[in-house]
C-alpha cells in the first residue's frame, strides 16, 4: 500500500486592512464590528484591491520558490452560504499570481507547489447546536469576510502523513520568516485541506478523498494516518471508496463523511468585472525578492557550516525568527556557539515546550542566561542547580544571582568541607567498601550519589568523586 497526498492550504495574510475594503483585518474583534458596505455586500458597493495584499502574496510566493506572473486577474466563485454576503468569493481562478514553487523537506525531497492565488475569506457561522443538522438557528459574524488569503495548492508529491506535517511546519516557518502571516493553525490563520488516495500493491488506486477541518499540525498527521488506514481497510475488504469530502473530528479522532463529490457546487467561475487586471512590474518583483530575509533552511545551513553547530540544533534554532535572533545575540554577548545552541535548545526551549508556549525572548533575558551558563562552566553550581535556576527565571524573571543566594545553590567545592562528608558516607556503608576492595570500581558513583544527597545536591560531583577514590584508597589515613 502506498498513499498519495496533495494539500490545499489557506493562509490568512496579516495585512493592516482587508483585501477589498478598508476595514481592519482583525478576526477576534467583537462580532460584526469590522464591517462595511463592501464586505457585507450592500447594493452598489464595489471591491478595491488592497496593494499590501499583492505585496504579501508576492513575498510568500517568492519565499516558496514560485514563479510570479506579471499579469494575473480576479474571478468570482459563486455559491450561496450565509457567511458569504455577496453570494460569491473573489478569487484568482483562471490566472493566479504565482505558479511552480516548492518546499524542500529535511530528507532533501522537494514537494512541488502547483499554484498560489489571492482570495478573500468568508465570515464565521455559529450554530445553536454542536451538530449543524440539529441546529434551530445560526448566527453569522462577518468580521472575517474579506480578510485576505493566499491559497497554496501542492502537487500530490507527499507520500506519508509525517511528510505532510513536516511540509506544513516548514511552510509555517517560511510564512513567519517573511512576515506575512502568524501561521497559527489553531487560530485558523493557516488552514489545511488534504486530498488523499491509496494505491494497493497491485497498483490499483482508490478514489481521491478530501479531508477538511484539520486545525493543528498534529492533526495533519493524525487525520491522514486515520484516513489512509480507513481507505486501506475498505480496499482490502474489496469495498468501494467513494470520491467524497470528509471532515476530521478531533474529539473522536476520526474522519466523518461531509458530502459526496456529486453533491458539490458548480461554482460558475467567471472573470470579476469590478476589478481590473492585476499587473506587477518586473522591477517590483525584483525589489520584493531583494527584500526577503534569510529563510529558515538557508539559516540552518549557515549555522551548521559557518557557526559549526549540530545539524539538529541548527534546524530548531533557524525555524523561528525570534529564536534565531536570540541565538545570534547570545553569541554576540560572549556565549560560545556550542553553549548557546545546547542551552537554548535543551533547557530554554524545553520550558516553553512543556507549557506549549511560543518562544518569547522576554521570559529569559540573555543576560540571565549568560549568568547561569557562566556559573555552570566555572563549577560554581551543578548542572541540576542550573536547570532549577533557569526554570525559576522563566517563571519569575528573577536575577540568577538572587536565586542562587535564596536557594543556596552554590556548589561545595573546597576539599576541606567535603572530606568529612565523604568519610561519613564511607563509614556508613562498610559492605559497599568491601565491594570496592574486591575490585568493583563502579561503586564510586554510589558514594558520590550519597554525598550529593547529604549536601542537598550542592557538592561539586567531580570533586566528590575524586575525594571518594582518595579516601577509599587510603590516601587520607
Amino acid at each position: 500500500m502506498k498513499s498519495v497526498i496533495g494539500l490545499e492550504i489557506h493562509v490568512q495574510l496579516s495585512t493592516k486592512t482587508k483585501a477589498f475594503c478598508s476595514c481592519k483585518n482583525e478576526v477576534d474583534a467583537k462580532a460584526n464590528t469590522n464591517i462595511c458596505s463592501v464586505c457585507t455586500g450592500q447594493p452598489g458597493a464595489l471591491p478595491v484591491l488592497n496593494d499590501q495584499v499583492v505585496e504579501y502574496a508576492i513575498r510568500g510566493a517568492l519565499a516558496l520558490n514560485c514563479e510570479i506572473h506579471e499579469v494575473s486577474s480576479f474571478d468570482r466563485k459563486n455559491y450561496f452560504y450565509p457567511d458569504l454576503p455577496k453570494g460569491y468569493q473573489i478569487t484568482q481562478y483562471f490566472h493566479p499570481i504565482a505558479t511552480n514553487g516548492y518546499v524542500e523537506l529535511n530528507s532533501g525531497k522537494r514537494i512541488r507547489i502547483r499554484r498560489i492565488h489571492i482570495e478573500e475569506d468568508a465570515g464565521k457561522m455559529f450554530h445553536s447546536s454542536e451538530n449543524i443538522t440539529e441546529s434551530i438557528s445560526s448566527l453569522v459574524d462577518l468580521n472575517r469576510c474579506g480578510i485576505p488569503l493566499i491559497e497554496i495548492v501542492t502537487e500530490p508529491d507527499l507520500e506519508k502523513p509525517e511528510e505532510a506535517r513536516e511540509f506544513m511546519e516548514k511552510l509555517r516557518d517560511v510564512l513567519r520568516a517573511v512576515g506575512i502571516s502568524t501561521g497559527n493553525m489553531e487560530e485558523g490563520a493557516l488552514r489545511c485541506d488534504a486530498n488523499v488516495s491509496v494505491v494497493n500493491d497491485k497498483g490499483h488506486s482508490s478514489s481521491r478523498v478530501e479531508v477538511k477541518n484539520i486545525n493543528s499540525f498534529r492533526f495533519v498527521q493524525h487525520a491522514l494516518e486515520y484516513e489512509i488506514e480507513r481507505i486501506s481497510k475498505v480496499m482490502e475488504s474489496g469495498g468501494d471508496v467513494p470520491m467524497e469530502t470528509r471532515g476530521w473530528d478531533s474529539i473522536s479522532k476520526s474522519t466523518v463523511s461531509m458530502r459526496s463529490k456529486e453533491a458539490e457546487n458548480d461554482y460558475r467561475y467567471f472573470p470579476e468585472p469590478d476589478l481590473p487586471i492585476l499587473v506587477v512590474s518586473k522591477k517590483r518583483i525584483k525589489r520584493i525578492r531583494n527584500s526577503l530575509p534569510e529563510l529558515p533552511d538557508e539559516k540552518a545551513k549557515r549555522y551548521e557550516k559557518e557557526i559549526g553547530i549540530q545539524s539538529e540544533n541548527a534546524k530548531i534554532l533557524s525555524k523561528d525568527k525570534e529564536l534565531s535572533r536570540y541565538f545570534e545575540d547570545a553569541i554576540k554577548i560572549g556565549i560560545s556557539a556550542k553553549d548557546a545552541s545546547n542551552w537554548i535548545v535543551n533547557e530554554v526551549m524545553a520550558l516553553f515546550n512543556a507549557d506549549s508556549m511560543e518562544f518569547n525572548p522576554k521570559k529569559i533575558s540573555l543576560a540571565h542566561l549568560k549568568k547561569v551558563i557562566d556559573y555552570t562552566n566555572s563549577s560554581k553550581i551543578s548542572r541540576l542547580a542550573a536547570k532549577e535556576i533557569i526554570a525559576e527565571v522563566y517563571k519569575t524573571g528573577k536575577d540568577p544571582d538572587v536565586i542562587v543566594k535564596e536557594k543556596n545553590l552554590l556548589q561545595v567545592s573546597d576539599e576541606s568541607s567535603l572530606i568529612p562528608i565523604v568519610k561519613e558516607v564511607i563509614l556508613e556503608n562498610p559492605r559497599v567498601v568491601e565491594q570496592y576492595k574486591k575490585g568493583k570500581a563502579s561503586v564510586v558513583g554510589f558514594f558520590v550519589g550519597a554525598v550529593m544527597k547529604k549536601t542537598n545536591g550542592k557538592a561539586d560531583p567531580k570533586l566528590a568523586g575524586k575525594l571518594v577514590k582518595k579516601v577509599l584508597d587510603g590516601e587520607f589515613e
Partner: protein
C-alpha cells in the same frame, strides 16, 4: 414657465438673483407632485440638499438604483422594497457637492432589466407624449420626469441602452459616458462590465454640464480611469470636415417614416459640413445575442447577494435552502428570474466555453470592428431605436422586447461614449439620433450632438399639463 428652462438657464437665474434657490426647488417639487399621479415617474420623493456650488438651488431626480443616504433605494424590486441606503453613490454625491438638491427617486425596470418600466415591481411609468405608451427603460422614470419638466435633469444608468432608449422615446437628451469615466460606486450592479451612469436632460449643453460634474477617478471604483476631459471647452466648435459612419445594419430595420426622419438628420449634419458615409459592420448582427449572454451572466452573480440573510425581503422557512428559494421566488419578478436563469446556465461548467467564453470573444471582435471604423471616421451615427414608444403590453415576446436595444447595445459592449438627441417625430412620437464615438471621445460626440441640436432647432415639450402648465 420655469419647467421649460434648462439647467444652465436656471443656474444663471439663481446666480443673478432673478430667482431665489428655494423657490426653484419648491416650484419643481410642486410640479412633480401635480404630474406624478399621471406619469408615475417617482418611486419615492425626498428633499436631499447638497452643499453650496454651481448647482445651488437646482433640483434633480435620481434613478432608484443609486444609493442616497437617508432614502430608500429599491432598485425597482420587491426584494429591496424597504432597503434604506447606508451611503451615497459617488455620482449623486458629486452633484450634491456641486449644490444640487435631490427631489425624487425615479422608477425603473427591476434592477434596470427592461426597456419600458413595465418590469418595475411597483408600477409602470407613462410616456408624457402619450400616456398609453411606455416611456422606455430602464431609466423610464427619469426620462418621463425630465421630458415633462418635473425636474430640469435626472440621472439614469445605461447597461444596454437604458439612458438612450427612454431619452429617444421621450424626446430628450440621454448621454452614456465612456465606461470608466463615471464611478459606478453606489449603483446597484446589473452587468458590471457595461453599467454606466449618465444624465438625462433637455439639451446637449446640459448633458455636457452635468456630465462634466460627475466624471472622474473614484478610489471606490477600481474600473474608473483618471482622464482629464473638458467637454465644455469644445462644445460650440464647428464639425465641418468631420466624417461620420452610418452602419447599414442600423438602417435596415427602420420603418419608412423613421427613415425619412433619419435622412433629414443626416442632411442636417451634411449642411454643417460633415460627410456621412454608409458602412457595414458585419459583427453587429451578433451584438444582441452576445449582450444577452454576458449581461445575464454578470447579473446572475451580482444578484446573488439578495438572499434574505442580511437585509431586504426574507421569507423565513425551515431550512436555509428553502429560505433562499422562497425569498428569491417572492422577491424577484419574472424578467429578473429569466435573466438569472439564463446567466446561471451560460456560466455553468458544462456550457461556459460554448456560451460565456464564446460571447466574450465575439465581444472583443465587435469592439475591434468598431475601433477600425474610428480609424477613419469621427463618429458612428444612426437612429437610437428602431421604433418609437410602444404601448403597454405590446411587446409580449421577450425576443421582440430585447430587440429594442439593438442599436444601443454595441456602445456598452465596447465601452464607448454615446448620446441620443431628439431628431424628430414618427407619427407624433419622438425618436432620437444616436452619436457614438471612440473611447474617451466624449467631447467630440457632445460637440457633434450640440452642432446638430443647433441646426435642428428647438424641440417641443409634450403638452402634459391639464391647466396649460402655468400656475
Amino acid at each position: 414657465m420655469l419647467f421649460k428652462k434648462g439647467v444652465e438657464e436656471l443656474v444663471d437665474d439663481v446666480k443673478s438673483g432673478r430667482l431665489d434657490e428655494d423657490s426653484v426647488v419648491s416650484y419643481f417639487k410642486e410640479r412633480s407632485a401635480r404630474l406624478n399621479p399621471k406619469l408615475r415617474a417617482y418611486i419615492s420623493t425626498c428633499t436631499v440638499k447638497g452643499n453650496n456650488g454651481p448647482l445651488h438651488g437646482i433640483p434633480f431626480a435620481v434613478k432608484d438604483n443609486m444609493q442616497l443616504n437617508g432614502t430608500k433605494t429599491t432598485s425597482g424590486s420587491k426584494i429591496l422594497e424597504n432597503y434604506g441606503s447606508t451611503f451615497t453613490a459617488t455620482a449623486v454625491k458629486k452633484l450634491l457637492d456641486n449644490g444640487g438638491t435631490v427631489i425624487g427617486k425615479t422608477n425603473l425596470d427591476e434592477f434596470a432589466m427592461g426597456s419600458s418600466t413595465e418590469y418595475s415591481a411597483f408600477f409602470a411609468s407613462k410616456n408624457p407624449w402619450d400616456i398609453s405608451r411606455v416611456p422606455g427603460g430602464s431609466s423610464g422614470g427619469s426620462a418621463a420626469a425630465v421630458a415633462s419638466g418635473m425636474v430640469p435633469f435626472a440621472l439614469g444608468s445605461d447597461t444596454g441602452g437604458s439612458i438612450r432608449q427612454p431619452a429617444s422615446f421621450c424626446g430628450i437628451v440621454g448621454y452614456k459616458p465612456t465606461y470608466g469615466l463615471v464611478s459606478r460606486y453606489g449603483l446597484s450592479a446589473f452587468a458590471s462590465s457595461m453599467d454606466q451612469i449618465g444624465p438625462l436632460t433637455k439639451s446637449v449643453r446640459d448633458a455636457a454640464l452635468v456630465g462634466s460634474m460627475i466624471f472622474g477617478r473614484d478610489l471606490n471604483d477600481a474600473t474608473t480611469i483618471d482622464k482629464k476631459i473638458n467637454v465644455m471647452n469644445t462644445l460650440e466648435n464647428s464639425i465641418e470636415g468631420m466624417k461620420f459612419a452610418l452602419p447599414s445594419e442600423f438602417v435596415k430595420g427602420l420603418t419608412s417614416t423613421a427613415k425619412i426622419v433619419l435622412e433629414e438628420a443626416i442632411e442636417a449634419l451634411k449642411r454643417l459640413g460633415a460627410r456621412v458615409e454608409e458602412v457595414s459592420i458585419p459583427s453587429l448582427k451578433y451584438a444582441v445575442a452576445v449582450y444577452y449572454i454576458i449581461a445575464p451572466a454578470e447579473a446572475s452573480s451580482n444578484l446573488s447577494r439578495y438572499d434574505g440573510i442580511k437585509y431586504g425581503l426574507r421569507v423565513e422557512e425551515d431550512s436555509i435552502d428553502e429560505t433562499y428559494n422562497q425569498t428569491r421566488d417572492e422577491g424577484f419578478g419574472k424578467e429578473v428570474k429569466r435573466r438569472i436563469m439564463l446567466g446561471t446556465f451560460t456560466l455553468s461548467a458544462t456550457y461556459y466555453d460554448a456560451y460565456f467564453d464564446k460571447a466574450q470573444r465575439v465581444r472583443a471582435k465587435i469592439t475591434d470592428e468598431l475601433l477600425k471604423i474610428f480609424l477613419t471616421h469621427d463618429a458612428i451615427v444612426g437612429p437610437t431605436t428602431p421604433k418609437t414608444a410602444f404601448k403597454f403590453g405590446e411587446l409580449s415576446s421577450p425576443l421582440d422586447y430585447y430587440l429594442q436595444d439593438i442599436y444601443t447595445i454595441p456602445a456598452n459592449l465596447a465601452g464607448l461614449p454615446s448620446i441620443s438627441v431628439p431628431m424628430g417625430f414618427v407619427e407624433k412620437l419622438p425618436i432620437g439620433l444616436q452619436i457614438m464615438g471612440k473611447r474617451f471621445d466624449d467631447s467630440k460626440i457632445l460637440q457633434i450632438a450640440r452642432a446638430y441640436e443647433k441646426v435642428r432647432g428647438e424641440f417641443p415639450m409634450p403638452n402634459i399639463d391639464d391647466d396649460g402648465g402655468e400656475k
